[in-house]
């Protein structure tokens, strides 16, 4: 497996949102706007890359029976570090993302990649995998966020192109499910190779 494919697999072949269907909770909850989706994706990317690196380093030293709790503690540490950093330096994003920042701990993508990849590969590959899947996640979330923001608020990244509101259901709960469902259909039809 070449390094390049490790990096790019995260976008289509192993796209966490549309193919692996992991990390659904933040996907639905934080994509009310393009910016929010982007912020959430980047936050997850941060944790994913760091935890992949550390876990790939630790894996040979960890007894098999405790590996899940150990990985979880490592991930939780990075999530808490992220929490403090965001609270201190990006307070607006911290407030917007709210509960979903600590919930990155149980984001199946992070633990999933640790289990499926990082504990079996070297540090460099794990780093690339983290970046690839993390960026794939970020792009997916941003795309969903863009769609929901256009339909729901008539704006993109805050730049409004209609006056007044859009179809508000899209920035609320139902919109999340509907947009994700329809985008998945498009992804299946046009991007998935099988």
């Amino acid at each position: 497996m070449s390094k390049w494919s490790t990096l790019t697999d995260g976008f289509v072949k192993n796209n966490p949102t549309f193919v692996l269907v992991l990390g659904m909770c933040p996907t639905l909850a934080t994509t009310t706007s393009a910016m929010n989706g982007l912020e959430m994706g980047l936050a997850t990317l941060f944790v994913l890359v760091l935890s992949n690196i550390v876990i790939s380093l630790l894996a040979p030293l960890v007894p098999d029976k405790v590996h899940i709790p150990v990985y979880i503690v490592v991930i939780a540490t990075f999530v808490t570090v992220l929490q403090f950093i965001m609270q201190a330096y990006t307070p607006d994003a911290y407030k917007t993302l709210g509960l979903f920042i600590p919930l990155i701990v149980v984001n199946c993508i992070v633990l999933g990649r640790a289990e499926a990849f990082a504990n079996k590969h070297g540090v460099l590959e794990s780093l690339l995998d983290g970046i690839g899947v993390g960026l794939g996640f970020t792009v997916s979330l941003t795309v969903i966020g863009i769609v929901r923001e256009i339909l729901g608020s008539g704006s993109v990244f805050g730049w409004k192109f209609i006056s007044g509101d859009g179809i508000l259901a899209f920035v609320m709960a139902p919109g999340a499910f509907l947009v994700l469902g329809y985008l998945m259909v498009l992804f299946n039809k046009y991007l998935k190779k099988s």
């Binding site: 709790p69 199946c108 709960a173 509907l178 329809y182 039809k189």
Partner: protein
Amino acid sequence: MEYIIIIVSAIFVNNIVLSQFLGICPFLGVSNKLSTATGMSGAVCFVITLATLVTYLLNQYLLVPFGLEFLQTIAFILVIAALVQMVEIVLKKISPSLYQALGIFLPLITTNCAVLGVAITVVTKDFTFGAESHMLNLGQAIVYAVATSIGYGLAMVLFAGLREHLALNEVPKSFRGLPIALITVGILALAFLGFSGIV
């Protein structure tokens, strides 16, 4: 009276799945059969309630008094992981058939955002209630946890019922499986939006 508000709010108005987006992965994964959905809801209900009780007490009597709040995320998730492990062991003894049916999804309750989500929400000082901003006391926290799980179970059972019917229908190829399930949930969520404003 406050308890009624907590209960109605947690089950209908702010339904954990359809409104707060927590617990989606198992929600989508286990809901294709009504019987597994019911079993899963029961297991999740038990874990959420027990986890909330333990983490609340842990936070109240260990983390806060010793200024260790920065360890909250780690401590909570470890407690949840341990509890799920215990539930697995107990379930294997009491009901091996349910244990088999739930399969991989049972250990996955550890990563169910609903469990950690409820645990954190309940100890967050900003949980405003009526006009007073205060932290829930233990009794309210337990009621909230139980009510939330009931809401989770309700959403799951409703959805599983819908999915069983969906499986019998002709669905276009690109829609099959998850996409049509998501669209269905979206419509279900639309229906639940109607509850907002009750409390």
